[in-house]
């Protein structure tokens, strides 16, 4: 793979793999630092970047483990680089302590998790959607999560860029969750021209160093971030801290910090949440599915529609924060909802939570955790039970 390949003519479609599209999206978003550790099914991302980064004068390093990978990208981000790592379930588990550090210290960065079957070493090369909750609650303590979930190669590219934009805008680690099948799938895609991309960069302080408080509270809960070496000489710690970043035990300051972390997310749900509604307008039966399962679901919807059955699909592109309002509204008048996931039931609990007052409807679980994809036939079978 040479740079030539990625300096392609963007008017023509190009055959790309999901993982490759993530790497390309990251490069186009302005990735300045990648620190990672090899693990199937994510390794292509590191391999491609090891080739592309130095040519562009950017930094690539293979760290000694995932704890170090996560630490290195936070360090890089603190000197102003857009930074990313990529891993799979076992590595994602190892990163969790430092992910919490990144959240607590409000350092922008992107963590890609190309999921495989678990727990433990599990199924290294088989698809599974078992990390929904690890992306939500993987690190200890209260914390919000921003997690994006593509269902196509093009969307891998788009959401990789969006992950950086959200990380920079909200000063927080952002997760990009892929299915093994999406990461390894190849599709012909036409990438948008570079000058049409919307790229967001973090806000730098515009006050003199004496005035700078890098966690300064304001109505938006998001504070400008300086880089080390710019003259601001600020302190960063994982201990609960005040607006200047110094450790605190004061109740009012603890509360303020925790509220800041939460509210910068919950006050901006409309900006953060993306949900695709596919044939939902008149749907009597809805399928709720994300990532690769949504592809099977779309096929099932189309086949059902041909037979005159009013079936639709709700597909969250943002799984965290969970699209409470959107899902609740879309399911107001459906008779039944099929929640299809490749795990033993993770997002279903969210759907049931947000629809707890919609007692009229049926909620049907469709779960596979045998290392293979939920097929359109699996879904059609469930549809036939209710329609």
């Amino acid at each position: 793979m040479s740079t030539d390949r990625y300096n392609m003519d963007r008017n023509k479609p190009i055959l790309l793999q999901g993982n490759e599209a993530v790497a390309l999206g990251a490069l186009d978003a302005g990735l300045g630092f990648f620190g990672g550790y090899p693990i199937t099914p994510s390794s292509e991302i590191a391999e491609i970047l090891s080739n592309e980064m130095p040519k562009r004068g950017r930094k690539f390093i293979q760290m000694e483990d995932e704890l170090a990978s996560m630490a290195s990208i936070i360090g890089a981000s603190l000197v102003g680089k857009k930074a990313m790592t990529a891993t799979s379930g076992p590595g994602f588990s190892l990163m969790q302590e430092n992910i919490g550090f990144g959240m607590m210290t409000e350092v922008p960065c992107v963590v890609v998790n190309v999921q495989r079957g678990g727990p433990s070493t599990g199924l290294p090369t088989s698809p599974a959607q078992g990390d929904m909750m690890q992306a939500r609650w993987g690190t200890h303590g209260d914390h919000p999560s921003i997690t994006l979930y593509p269902d196509s190669v093009l969307e891998c590219y788009e959401l990789a860029i969006r992950a950086f934009n959200l990380a920079e805008k909200y000063r927080t680690p952002v997760f990009l969750l892929l299915d093994e099948l999406i990461g390894h799938m190849r599709e012909a895609v036409k990438l948008p021209p570079k000058d049409e991309l919307k790229i967001i960069n973090r806000v730098n302080p515009n006050v003199p160093p004496e005035w700078y408080k890098h966690f300064k509270n304001n109505p938006k809960y998001i504070s400008p971030l300086a880089s080390y070496g710019q003259g601001y000489r600020f302190h960063v710690t994982g201990l609960t801290h005040d607006e200047k970043g110094f450790p605190t035990n004061k109740q009012t300051e603890i509360q303020a910090k925790m509220d800041k972390l939460l509210k910068k997310i919950t006050d901006n749900l409309d900006d953060l949440i993306q949900v695709e509604a596919f044939h939902m307008d008149d749907a009597e039966v809805a399928i709720f599915a994300a990532g690769v399962v949504a592809r099977s679901a779309k096929e099932a919807v189309l086949r059902s529609r041909k037979k005159g059955k009013k079936v639709g699909l709700i597909r969250p592109l943002t799984i965290w924060p969970f699209p409470d309002k959107e899902v609740e509204r879309m399911l107001e008048s459906t008779k039944a909802t099929i929640i299809a996931e490749m795990n033993q039931g993770q997002l279903i609990n969210e759907v049931l939570r947000v629809t707890k007052y919609q007692k009229h409807a049926k909620y049907i679980e469709l779960q596979r955790y045998d290392g293979s994809l939920i097929t359109p036939e699996d879904i059609l079978e469930k549809i036939n039970e209710v329609l």
Partner: protein
């Protein structure tokens, strides 16, 4: 040599809200911080260019007090964070402060890999032979037979020699000093800060509270005396008879060698690749022009 003014360390401390500090009376960490700040003063590194990164432990609390770019990370991971910083911005002087547990137990992997890469970090390990912050549990440097709250019958694990570890992993600068030998410590810190490469300095420090209480040494003065009597400079060590060497700990600069540094190696890689790319571009352009020329030629010929 510059005369160091009195109270020079006050120029490097943060004066807003940070004192009193967390360290116990008699603790060696503060002395080491003083030595380090005097070294920074002597070399004259601007505050803006220093990034001090620490892990978790009593030693890890050091950065909050000093007026540099400071980062207090997770237990054991300081070197990994520091690697991200140094690699991204090689012009910054990145200093790691780590305890013996932090650097040699939970973070041991990062230590050996930083040394192997020979990345330009100044790694100061404050070795008090104990987990100070958590109240005196055994660490990988607790001497065999010594007591700890988790080694109530005396430790049955042999201890690490941190300098040998760093040396064999490839660090281009390795030194040992103590909290007692303040002049020497300052000079070693200066040499380590000036070294282009991975510089590991083990600094033996007394922890009268957590270590002392378990080993009948609760007086800081006694412990400092111990540092004086049981260590010997590398020069004097070489002159000692084999029997006398037995129980002595060597101080001084143990390794100071030239090895290509990691970030410099990467910068060279970038240069090499970019040269290749630009020559490829050129040859492409040339090929394009040649094609045009030959096309226009053939057109002319057609006209003829």
């Amino acid at each position: 040599m510059k005369k160091i003014p009195q109270k020079v360390i006050h120029r490097y401390l943060r004066h807003d809200k940070k004192f009193p500090h967390v360290w116990c009376p008699g603790c060696g960490i503060g002395t080491i911080l003083g030595d380090f700040l005097r070294a920074v003063y002597n070399i004259g590194i601007p505050k803006d260019e220093i990034v001090m990164v620490s892990g978790i432990g009593c030693s890890g609390r050091m950065p909050v007090y000093v007026d540099f770019n400071t980062l207090h990370t997770t237990h054991g991971r300081a070197i990994a964070f520091a690697t991200g910083i140094k690699f991204s911005e090689p012009r910054l002087k990145v200093v790691v402060i780590s305890g013996d547990g932090d650097a040699a137990a939970i973070g041991g992997n990062h230590l050996i890999h930083a040394a192997r890469r020979n990345i330009d970090l100044t790694i100061i390990i404050i070795n008090n032979s104990i987990y100070g912050m958590t109240g005196g549990q055994a660490s990988p440097t607790t001497p065999l037979g010594d007591y700890a709250t988790t080694a109530p019958f005396g430790s049955i694990e042999p201890e690490f020699d941190l300098c040998k570890l760093a040396e064999s992993a490839g660090a281009s600068f390795v030194a040992r000093t103590t909290a007692y030998h303040t002049m020497e410590a300052r000079q070693i810190f200066e040499a380590a800060l000036n070294k282009k490469g991975c510089a590991v300095v083990e600094t033996i420090a007394q922890c009268p509270v957590s270590y002392g209480k378990m080993n009948q040494q609760s007086s800081a003065i006694e412990m400092l005396k111990w540092q004086k009597e049981n260590t010997v400079s590398i020069k004097s060590f070489d002159k000692l008879s084999p029997e006398k060497r037995q129980d002595k700990i060597v101080r001084g600069i143990i390794v100071d060698k030239d090895r290509e540094e990691f970030t410099a190696r990467y910068e060279n890689l970038i240069k090499r690749l970019q040269k290749n790319e630009s020559s490829k571009e050129k040859s492409k352009q040339q090929a394009g022009e040649n094609q045009k020329k030959s096309k226009s030629k053939s057109k002319k010929e057609e006209k003829k």
